[in-house]
Protein backbone atom coordinates (compact mmCIF):
# COMPACT_ATOMS: atom_id res chain seq x y z
CA UNK A 1 0.00 0.00 0.00
CA UNK A 2 1.27 3.43 -0.97
CA UNK A 3 2.12 5.84 1.77
CA UNK A 4 -1.00 7.70 2.83
CA UNK A 5 -0.56 11.46 2.63
CA UNK A 6 -1.04 12.53 6.20
CA UNK A 7 -3.03 15.72 6.49
CA UNK A 8 -0.45 18.01 7.98
CA UNK A 9 -0.26 21.58 9.19
CA UNK A 10 -1.05 24.39 6.79
CA UNK A 11 2.59 25.27 6.21
CA UNK A 12 3.19 21.89 4.61
CA UNK A 13 0.22 22.01 2.27
CA UNK A 14 0.89 22.42 -1.42
CA UNK A 15 -0.27 25.73 -2.91
CA UNK A 16 -4.05 25.71 -3.19
CA UNK A 17 -4.07 22.24 -1.58
CA UNK A 18 -3.20 20.89 -5.01
CA UNK A 19 -2.70 17.14 -5.05
CA UNK A 20 0.54 16.36 -6.86
CA UNK A 21 0.49 12.57 -6.72
CA UNK A 22 -1.71 11.37 -9.58
CA UNK A 23 -4.18 8.59 -8.92
CA UNK A 24 -3.32 8.22 -5.24
CA UNK A 25 -6.95 7.27 -4.59
CA UNK A 26 -5.54 3.77 -4.89
CA UNK A 27 -4.79 4.25 -1.21
CA UNK A 28 -8.53 4.02 -0.55
CA UNK A 29 -9.61 0.42 -0.29
CA UNK A 30 -13.20 0.68 -1.44
CA UNK A 31 -13.37 -3.10 -1.42
CA UNK A 32 -14.39 -2.69 2.22
CA UNK A 33 -17.84 -1.62 1.03
CA UNK A 34 -18.56 -5.01 -0.48
CA UNK A 35 -21.05 -7.55 0.81
CA UNK A 36 -20.79 -9.85 -2.20
CA UNK A 37 -17.86 -10.84 -4.34
CA UNK A 38 -17.74 -12.02 -7.93
CA UNK A 39 -16.24 -15.44 -8.55
CA UNK A 40 -15.23 -16.35 -12.11
CA UNK A 41 -15.44 -19.89 -13.37
CA UNK A 42 -12.52 -20.02 -15.78
CA UNK A 43 -13.93 -23.13 -17.42
CA UNK A 44 -16.81 -21.04 -18.66
CA UNK A 45 -14.85 -17.83 -19.30
CA UNK A 46 -14.34 -17.00 -22.98
CA UNK A 47 -11.96 -14.09 -22.23
CA UNK A 48 -14.34 -11.60 -23.87
CA UNK A 49 -13.49 -8.84 -21.37
CA UNK A 50 -17.04 -7.69 -20.68
CA UNK A 51 -16.29 -7.82 -16.93
CA UNK A 52 -13.29 -5.58 -17.54
CA UNK A 53 -14.89 -2.94 -19.74
CA UNK A 54 -18.18 -2.74 -17.83
CA UNK A 55 -16.65 -2.42 -14.35
CA UNK A 56 -17.23 1.07 -12.87
CA UNK A 57 -14.53 0.46 -10.28
CA UNK A 58 -11.72 -0.63 -12.61
CA UNK A 59 -11.40 -3.88 -10.71
CA UNK A 60 -10.56 -6.23 -13.57
CA UNK A 61 -7.30 -6.14 -15.46
CA UNK A 62 -6.28 -8.20 -18.46
CA UNK A 63 -3.73 -10.99 -17.91
CA UNK A 64 -1.33 -12.36 -20.50
CA UNK A 65 -3.27 -15.58 -20.46
CA UNK A 66 -6.30 -13.68 -21.75
CA UNK A 67 -8.20 -14.09 -18.52
CA UNK A 68 -8.93 -11.16 -16.26
CA UNK A 69 -7.60 -10.57 -12.83
CA UNK A 70 -10.03 -9.37 -10.14
CA UNK A 71 -8.76 -6.90 -7.53
CA UNK A 72 -10.45 -7.40 -4.19
CA UNK A 73 -9.11 -4.08 -2.90
CA UNK A 74 -11.50 -2.01 -4.96
CA UNK A 75 -14.46 -4.21 -5.91
CA UNK A 76 -17.61 -2.78 -4.31
CA UNK A 77 -19.59 -5.87 -5.27
CA UNK A 78 -22.13 -4.19 -7.56
CA UNK A 79 -22.55 -7.32 -9.65
CA UNK A 80 -22.49 -5.69 -13.09
CA UNK A 81 -19.79 -8.15 -14.21
CA UNK A 82 -21.90 -11.15 -13.22
CA UNK A 83 -24.98 -9.67 -14.86
CA UNK A 84 -23.19 -8.79 -18.09
CA UNK A 85 -21.09 -11.95 -18.48
CA UNK A 86 -22.37 -13.56 -21.69
CA UNK A 87 -21.48 -17.05 -20.48
CA UNK A 88 -22.71 -16.70 -16.88
CA UNK A 89 -19.19 -17.49 -15.80
CA UNK A 90 -19.32 -15.03 -12.90
CA UNK A 91 -21.42 -15.59 -9.80
CA UNK A 92 -21.84 -13.27 -6.86
CA UNK A 93 -21.24 -14.96 -3.52
CA UNK A 94 -21.78 -13.49 -0.06
CA UNK A 95 -18.69 -12.27 1.72
CA UNK A 96 -18.16 -14.13 4.93
CA UNK A 97 -18.07 -11.97 8.04
Amino acid sequence: MAKVDAITGWRNLELGITITEPGNSRQLRTGDWRSQRPVTDRDKCIKCGMCWIYCPDIVYSPLRSGYFNWDENYCKGCGICAHECPKDAITMVMEED
Binding site: I7, L15, P22
Partner: protein
Protein backbone atom coordinates in the same frame (compact mmCIF):
# COMPACT_ATOMS: atom_id res chain seq x y z
CA UNK B 1 13.15 58.42 -20.96
CA UNK B 2 9.60 57.15 -21.07
CA UNK B 3 7.34 59.37 -23.09
CA UNK B 4 4.56 61.35 -21.51
CA UNK B 5 1.36 61.30 -23.51
CA UNK B 6 -2.16 62.59 -23.10
CA UNK B 7 -4.34 59.52 -22.96
CA UNK B 8 -7.67 58.41 -21.53
CA UNK B 9 -7.03 56.57 -18.29
CA UNK B 10 -8.99 53.47 -19.39
CA UNK B 11 -6.76 53.19 -22.43
CA UNK B 12 -3.70 53.57 -20.26
CA UNK B 13 -4.94 50.63 -18.19
CA UNK B 14 -5.15 48.52 -21.36
CA UNK B 15 -1.73 49.72 -22.46
CA UNK B 16 -0.32 48.62 -19.11
CA UNK B 17 -1.70 45.11 -19.61
CA UNK B 18 -0.23 45.24 -23.11
CA UNK B 19 3.32 46.23 -22.15
CA UNK B 20 3.11 43.59 -19.40
CA UNK B 21 2.80 41.06 -22.25
CA UNK B 22 -0.49 39.59 -21.06
CA UNK B 23 -1.25 36.18 -22.61
CA UNK B 24 -5.00 35.96 -22.10
CA UNK B 25 -7.70 38.57 -21.64
CA UNK B 26 -11.23 37.44 -20.85
CA UNK B 27 -13.76 40.16 -20.28
CA UNK B 28 -17.37 41.16 -20.58
CA UNK B 29 -18.36 44.75 -21.26
CA UNK B 30 -19.91 46.84 -18.50
CA UNK B 31 -20.06 50.60 -18.06
CA UNK B 32 -17.70 52.25 -17.12
CA UNK B 33 -15.14 49.52 -17.79
CA UNK B 34 -15.90 49.24 -21.53
CA UNK B 35 -13.07 51.40 -22.85
CA UNK B 36 -10.53 49.13 -21.18
CA UNK B 37 -11.75 45.96 -22.89
CA UNK B 38 -12.45 47.70 -26.16
CA UNK B 39 -8.90 48.95 -26.31
CA UNK B 40 -7.51 45.54 -25.36
CA UNK B 41 -9.55 44.00 -28.18
CA UNK B 42 -8.06 46.61 -30.52
CA UNK B 43 -4.53 45.93 -29.36
CA UNK B 44 -5.03 42.22 -30.00
CA UNK B 45 -6.74 42.83 -33.35
CA UNK B 46 -3.86 45.04 -34.47
CA UNK B 47 -1.27 42.48 -33.39
CA UNK B 48 0.22 44.86 -30.84
CA UNK B 49 -0.62 42.49 -28.02
CA UNK B 50 0.03 38.81 -28.66
CA UNK B 51 -2.79 37.44 -26.53
CA UNK B 52 -5.98 35.45 -26.73
CA UNK B 53 -8.93 37.75 -26.28
CA UNK B 54 -11.88 35.71 -24.98
CA UNK B 55 -15.12 37.66 -25.39
CA UNK B 56 -17.12 35.81 -22.77
CA UNK B 57 -20.87 35.80 -22.29
CA UNK B 58 -20.83 37.04 -18.67
CA UNK B 59 -18.53 38.22 -15.92
CA UNK B 60 -19.02 34.93 -14.17
CA UNK B 61 -17.48 33.25 -17.17
CA UNK B 62 -14.88 36.01 -17.48
CA UNK B 63 -13.50 35.15 -14.06
CA UNK B 64 -13.88 31.42 -14.73
CA UNK B 65 -11.92 31.70 -17.97
CA UNK B 66 -9.28 33.70 -16.10
CA UNK B 67 -8.93 31.00 -13.45
CA UNK B 68 -8.61 28.28 -16.11
CA UNK B 69 -6.16 30.37 -18.09
CA UNK B 70 -4.00 31.24 -15.12
CA UNK B 71 -4.04 27.62 -13.94
CA UNK B 72 -2.78 26.66 -17.38
CA UNK B 73 0.17 29.01 -16.93
CA UNK B 74 -0.85 32.14 -18.82
CA UNK B 75 -0.49 35.72 -17.63
CA UNK B 76 -4.12 36.73 -17.37
CA UNK B 77 -5.88 40.08 -17.23
CA UNK B 78 -9.48 41.18 -16.97
CA UNK B 79 -11.51 44.21 -15.99
CA UNK B 80 -14.99 44.78 -14.67
CA UNK B 81 -17.22 46.99 -12.58
CA UNK B 82 -20.18 46.96 -10.17
CA UNK B 83 -22.78 44.35 -11.21
CA UNK B 84 -20.08 42.52 -13.13
CA UNK B 85 -17.87 42.31 -10.08
CA UNK B 86 -20.86 41.11 -8.06
CA UNK B 87 -21.60 38.43 -10.65
CA UNK B 88 -18.00 37.26 -10.33
CA UNK B 89 -18.36 37.03 -6.56
CA UNK B 90 -18.50 33.25 -6.35
CA UNK B 91 -15.38 32.77 -8.45
CA UNK B 92 -13.51 35.65 -6.79
CA UNK B 93 -13.09 33.44 -3.72
CA UNK B 94 -11.81 30.53 -5.79
CA UNK B 95 -9.12 32.44 -7.70
CA UNK B 96 -6.94 33.00 -4.61
CA UNK B 97 -7.82 29.55 -3.28
CA UNK B 98 -6.32 28.03 -6.43
CA UNK B 99 -3.47 30.54 -6.20
CA UNK B 100 -4.06 31.97 -9.65
CA UNK B 101 -2.27 35.35 -10.00
CA UNK B 102 -4.90 37.11 -12.13
CA UNK B 103 -4.78 40.88 -12.44
CA UNK B 104 -8.09 42.72 -12.69
CA UNK B 105 -8.84 46.40 -13.10
CA UNK B 106 -12.04 47.38 -11.30
CA UNK B 107 -13.61 50.64 -12.44
CA UNK B 108 -15.50 51.36 -9.26
CA UNK B 109 -19.19 51.98 -9.69
CA UNK B 110 -22.29 51.94 -7.49
CA UNK B 111 -24.12 48.66 -7.07
CA UNK B 112 -27.81 48.35 -7.90
CA UNK B 113 -30.41 49.10 -6.75
CA UNK B 114 -31.41 51.46 -7.87
CA UNK B 115 -29.30 50.91 -10.91
CA UNK B 116 -26.60 53.53 -11.22
CA UNK B 117 -23.67 53.64 -13.57
CA UNK B 118 -21.88 56.31 -11.53
CA UNK B 119 -18.99 56.10 -9.21
CA UNK B 120 -18.74 54.99 -5.62
CA UNK B 121 -17.05 52.08 -3.83
CA UNK B 122 -20.00 49.84 -3.05
CA UNK B 123 -18.86 47.28 -5.62
CA UNK B 124 -15.36 46.76 -4.28
CA UNK B 125 -16.32 47.03 -0.61
CA UNK B 126 -18.66 44.06 -1.11
CA UNK B 127 -15.58 42.08 -2.19
CA UNK B 128 -13.27 42.99 0.67
CA UNK B 129 -13.02 39.48 2.04
CA UNK B 130 -12.49 37.43 -1.11
CA UNK B 131 -8.74 36.97 -0.61
CA UNK B 132 -7.46 39.32 -3.34
CA UNK B 133 -4.80 41.97 -2.91
CA UNK B 134 -6.52 45.32 -3.51
CA UNK B 135 -4.91 48.62 -4.45
CA UNK B 136 -6.50 51.99 -5.24
CA UNK B 137 -5.30 54.43 -7.85
CA UNK B 138 -5.71 58.18 -7.51
CA UNK B 139 -4.81 59.24 -11.03
CA UNK B 140 -4.04 57.90 -14.46
CA UNK B 141 -0.34 57.48 -13.86
CA UNK B 142 -1.09 55.36 -10.84
CA UNK B 143 -3.52 53.20 -12.80
CA UNK B 144 -0.79 52.43 -15.31
CA UNK B 145 1.88 51.89 -12.67
CA UNK B 146 -0.29 49.86 -10.31
CA UNK B 147 -1.25 47.41 -13.05
CA UNK B 148 2.42 46.76 -13.88
CA UNK B 149 3.11 46.46 -10.15
CA UNK B 150 0.15 44.09 -9.77
CA UNK B 151 1.57 41.52 -12.20
CA UNK B 152 4.91 41.65 -10.46
CA UNK B 153 3.40 41.10 -7.02
CA UNK B 154 0.72 38.57 -8.00
CA UNK B 155 3.19 36.27 -9.73
CA UNK B 156 5.84 36.50 -7.02
CA UNK B 157 6.42 32.92 -5.79
CA UNK B 158 5.92 34.17 -2.23
CA UNK B 159 2.52 35.60 -3.13
CA UNK B 160 0.69 33.78 -5.93
CA UNK B 161 -2.54 35.65 -5.33
CA UNK B 162 -4.80 37.66 -7.65
CA UNK B 163 -4.89 41.46 -7.48
CA UNK B 164 -7.59 44.03 -8.11
CA UNK B 165 -6.44 47.50 -9.12
CA UNK B 166 -9.25 49.94 -8.36
CA UNK B 167 -9.90 53.11 -10.28
CA UNK B 168 -12.94 55.31 -9.93
CA UNK B 169 -15.46 54.89 -12.72
CA UNK B 170 -15.84 57.91 -15.04
CA UNK B 171 -14.22 60.41 -12.66
CA UNK B 172 -10.91 58.66 -13.28
CA UNK B 173 -11.51 56.02 -15.94
CA UNK B 174 -12.84 58.44 -18.55
CA UNK B 175 -10.59 61.45 -18.10
CA UNK B 176 -7.61 62.25 -20.29
CA UNK B 177 -4.42 62.74 -18.36
CA UNK B 178 -0.77 63.13 -19.17
CA UNK B 179 0.77 59.75 -18.40
CA UNK B 180 4.31 58.46 -18.66
CA UNK B 181 3.86 55.28 -20.62
CA UNK B 182 6.57 52.70 -20.02
CA UNK B 183 7.50 50.64 -23.04
CA UNK B 184 7.43 46.85 -23.12
CA UNK B 185 11.23 46.72 -22.97
CA UNK B 186 11.30 49.08 -20.00
CA UNK B 187 8.72 46.95 -18.23
CA UNK B 188 10.70 43.76 -18.90
CA UNK B 189 13.37 45.03 -16.51
CA UNK B 190 10.78 44.97 -13.76
CA UNK B 191 8.50 42.13 -14.77
CA UNK B 192 9.96 38.75 -15.65
CA UNK B 193 7.94 36.17 -17.61
CA UNK B 194 5.44 34.29 -15.50
CA UNK B 195 6.76 30.95 -14.28
CA UNK B 196 4.01 29.04 -12.50
CA UNK B 197 5.05 26.41 -10.01
CA UNK B 198 1.88 24.42 -10.38
CA UNK B 199 0.34 24.22 -13.80
CA UNK B 200 -2.13 22.05 -15.70
CA UNK B 201 0.17 19.98 -17.87
CA UNK B 202 -0.31 16.42 -19.12
CA UNK B 203 3.38 15.75 -18.49
CA UNK B 204 2.98 16.36 -14.79
CA UNK B 205 -0.63 15.72 -13.80
CA UNK B 206 -1.92 17.60 -10.77
CA UNK B 207 -5.36 17.79 -9.19
CA UNK B 208 -6.33 21.42 -8.61
CA UNK B 209 -9.31 22.32 -6.49
CA UNK B 210 -9.93 19.05 -4.65
CA UNK B 211 -12.70 18.70 -2.09
CA UNK B 212 -11.68 20.26 1.24
CA UNK B 213 -13.04 18.05 3.96
CA UNK B 214 -13.29 19.48 7.51
CA UNK B 215 -9.83 18.01 8.23
CA UNK B 216 -8.17 20.36 5.76
CA UNK B 217 -10.55 23.26 5.06
CA UNK B 218 -9.27 25.38 7.97
CA UNK B 219 -5.65 24.83 6.94
CA UNK B 220 -6.49 25.69 3.33
CA UNK B 221 -8.04 28.95 4.51
CA UNK B 222 -5.07 29.73 6.75
CA UNK B 223 -2.74 29.23 3.80
CA UNK B 224 -4.54 32.02 1.93
CA UNK B 225 -4.81 34.24 4.99
CA UNK B 226 -1.08 33.93 5.64
CA UNK B 227 -0.19 34.48 1.99
CA UNK B 228 -2.36 37.58 1.81
CA UNK B 229 -1.07 39.02 5.09
CA UNK B 230 2.55 38.33 4.16
CA UNK B 231 2.08 39.75 0.68
CA UNK B 232 2.43 43.26 2.09
CA UNK B 233 6.21 42.88 2.25
CA UNK B 234 6.31 41.96 -1.42
CA UNK B 235 3.89 44.75 -2.31
CA UNK B 236 6.10 47.31 -0.59
CA UNK B 237 9.35 45.89 -1.95
CA UNK B 238 7.96 45.86 -5.46
CA UNK B 239 7.01 49.53 -5.06
CA UNK B 240 10.49 50.33 -3.83
CA UNK B 241 12.00 48.67 -6.84
CA UNK B 242 9.53 50.45 -9.08
CA UNK B 243 10.74 53.74 -7.63
CA UNK B 244 14.36 52.79 -8.29
CA UNK B 245 13.67 51.95 -11.91
CA UNK B 246 11.09 54.53 -12.87
CA UNK B 247 11.29 57.21 -10.20
CA UNK B 248 7.71 57.10 -8.95
CA UNK B 249 7.28 56.14 -5.33
CA UNK B 250 4.22 54.45 -3.82
CA UNK B 251 3.37 53.46 -0.26
CA UNK B 252 0.56 51.45 1.35
CA UNK B 253 -0.66 54.51 3.28
CA UNK B 254 -0.05 57.92 1.76
CA UNK B 255 -0.04 61.07 3.83
CA UNK B 256 -0.48 64.68 2.81
CA UNK B 257 0.34 67.56 5.19
CA UNK B 258 -0.19 65.33 8.21
CA UNK B 259 2.82 66.82 9.96
CA UNK B 260 1.49 68.68 12.96
CA UNK B 261 -2.08 67.91 11.97
CA UNK B 262 -4.58 67.56 14.81
CA UNK B 263 -7.35 66.39 12.55
CA UNK B 264 -6.87 63.99 9.66
CA UNK B 265 -9.20 63.23 6.78
CA UNK B 266 -9.21 59.71 5.38
CA UNK B 267 -10.07 58.92 1.76
CA UNK B 268 -9.39 56.39 -0.98
CA UNK B 269 -9.26 56.67 -4.74
CA UNK B 270 -9.35 59.60 -7.12
CA UNK B 271 -11.33 61.89 -4.80
CA UNK B 272 -8.13 62.23 -2.81
CA UNK B 273 -6.93 64.88 -5.24
CA UNK B 274 -9.93 67.06 -4.39
CA UNK B 275 -9.25 66.30 -0.75
CA UNK B 276 -5.71 67.68 -1.13
CA UNK B 277 -7.11 70.91 -2.49
CA UNK B 278 -9.49 71.06 0.45
CA UNK B 279 -6.65 70.44 2.88
CA UNK B 280 -4.59 73.23 1.30
CA UNK B 281 -7.51 75.60 1.58
CA UNK B 282 -8.23 74.73 5.20
CA UNK B 283 -4.55 74.89 6.10
CA UNK B 284 -4.42 78.38 4.60
CA UNK B 285 -7.33 79.22 6.86
CA UNK B 286 -5.39 77.92 9.87
CA UNK B 287 -7.14 74.58 10.38
CA UNK B 288 -4.53 71.98 11.45
CA UNK B 289 -5.77 69.36 9.00
CA UNK B 290 -3.98 66.64 7.04
CA UNK B 291 -4.95 63.88 4.66
CA UNK B 292 -4.38 60.15 4.75
CA UNK B 293 -5.19 57.73 1.94
CA UNK B 294 -5.09 53.95 1.67
CA UNK B 295 -3.36 52.95 -1.53
CA UNK B 296 -3.25 49.36 -0.28
CA UNK B 297 -6.55 48.15 1.11
CA UNK B 298 -5.94 44.40 1.18
CA UNK B 299 -3.91 43.29 3.00
CA UNK B 300 -4.92 46.02 5.44
CA UNK B 301 -1.79 48.13 6.10
CA UNK B 302 -2.24 48.01 9.87
CA UNK B 303 1.24 49.06 11.00
CA UNK B 304 1.57 51.86 8.44
CA UNK B 305 -1.86 53.16 9.34
CA UNK B 306 -1.17 53.17 13.06
CA UNK B 307 2.10 55.00 12.51
CA UNK B 308 0.39 57.53 10.28
CA UNK B 309 -2.23 58.51 12.85
CA UNK B 310 0.12 58.71 15.82
CA UNK B 311 -0.52 61.96 17.66
CA UNK B 312 -3.65 62.72 15.67
CA UNK B 313 -6.58 63.86 17.83
CA UNK B 314 -9.47 63.47 15.40
CA UNK B 315 -10.04 61.24 12.40
CA UNK B 316 -12.74 62.02 9.85
CA UNK B 317 -13.18 58.87 7.78
CA UNK B 318 -14.95 59.05 4.47
CA UNK B 319 -16.72 55.99 3.13
CA UNK B 320 -18.08 55.65 -0.37
CA UNK B 321 -20.31 52.71 0.49
CA UNK B 322 -22.76 51.79 3.21
CA UNK B 323 -22.63 48.66 5.30
CA UNK B 324 -26.37 48.37 5.66
CA UNK B 325 -27.39 47.86 9.24
CA UNK B 326 -23.90 47.84 10.68
CA UNK B 327 -24.79 51.14 12.42
CA UNK B 328 -21.26 52.30 11.68
CA UNK B 329 -21.71 53.73 8.22
CA UNK B 330 -19.19 52.23 5.89
CA UNK B 331 -16.58 49.51 5.85
CA UNK B 332 -13.54 51.80 5.88
CA UNK B 333 -14.74 53.44 9.08
CA UNK B 334 -15.48 50.07 10.67
CA UNK B 335 -12.04 48.75 9.87
CA UNK B 336 -10.17 51.88 10.84
CA UNK B 337 -11.93 52.14 14.18
CA UNK B 338 -11.41 48.47 14.84
CA UNK B 339 -7.71 48.78 13.96
CA UNK B 340 -7.30 51.48 16.61
CA UNK B 341 -9.22 49.70 19.33
CA UNK B 342 -7.12 49.49 22.47
CA UNK B 343 -4.48 51.87 21.12
CA UNK B 344 -3.50 54.33 23.87
CA UNK B 345 -4.40 57.92 22.99
CA UNK B 346 -6.32 56.77 19.94
CA UNK B 347 -7.97 59.64 18.09
CA UNK B 348 -11.69 60.24 18.22
CA UNK B 349 -13.15 58.85 15.02
CA UNK B 350 -16.19 60.02 13.07
CA UNK B 351 -17.60 58.42 9.94
CA UNK B 352 -18.96 60.18 6.87
CA UNK B 353 -20.60 58.43 4.00
CA UNK B 354 -20.36 60.56 0.89
CA UNK B 355 -20.28 60.47 -2.87
CA UNK B 356 -22.70 57.58 -3.32
CA UNK B 357 -23.73 56.71 -6.86
CA UNK B 358 -21.97 59.66 -8.44
CA UNK B 359 -23.01 62.36 -5.95
CA UNK B 360 -20.39 65.11 -6.23
CA UNK B 361 -17.63 65.34 -3.69
CA UNK B 362 -16.33 68.88 -3.65
CA UNK B 363 -13.88 70.84 -1.57
CA UNK B 364 -16.95 71.95 0.37
CA UNK B 365 -17.85 68.35 1.16
CA UNK B 366 -14.49 67.88 2.86
CA UNK B 367 -14.78 71.17 4.67
CA UNK B 368 -18.13 70.05 6.03
CA UNK B 369 -16.68 66.75 7.25
CA UNK B 370 -13.69 68.37 8.93
CA UNK B 371 -15.84 71.05 10.47
CA UNK B 372 -18.33 68.55 11.86
CA UNK B 373 -15.67 66.17 13.12
CA UNK B 374 -13.94 68.99 14.98
CA UNK B 375 -17.19 70.13 16.54
CA UNK B 376 -18.16 66.60 17.62
CA UNK B 377 -14.67 66.05 19.02
CA UNK B 378 -14.76 69.25 21.03
CA UNK B 379 -18.09 68.24 22.61
CA UNK B 380 -16.88 64.64 22.82
CA UNK B 381 -20.27 63.81 21.40
CA UNK B 382 -21.52 63.25 17.90
CA UNK B 383 -23.07 60.69 15.62
CA UNK B 384 -20.93 57.64 14.90
CA UNK B 385 -21.49 58.30 11.21
CA UNK B 386 -23.69 60.31 8.93
CA UNK B 387 -24.60 60.55 5.29
CA UNK B 388 -23.25 63.76 3.87
CA UNK B 389 -25.74 65.70 1.80
CA UNK B 390 -28.69 63.38 2.23
CA UNK B 391 -31.95 65.30 1.84
CA UNK B 392 -34.39 64.63 4.63
CA UNK B 393 -37.43 66.08 2.90
Amino acid sequence: MPKRVGIEVSLAASEAACVADTDVVAAYPITPQTHIVEHLAELVADGKLDAEFVPVESEHSAMSVCVGSSAAGARTFTATSAQGLALMHEILFIAPALRTPIVMAVTNRALSGPISIWNDHSDIMAERDVGWIQTFAENGQEVFDLIIHAFRVAEDPQVMLPIMVNLDGFTLSHVIEPIEMLSASEVRKYLKPYKPRIVLDPKNPVTMGPVGMPEVYTEAKQQIEAALTDSKKVVVKAWEEFAKLYGRRYKPVETYRTKGAKIVLMTMGSVSETAMTAVDKMRDEGVPVGLLRFRLWRPFPLEEFKRAVKGVKVLAVMDRAISYGSRQGGPVFTEVRSALYGTPKAPQIFGFVAGLGGRDITVGTYEEMVDKAMRYAKKKKGPTYELIGVRER
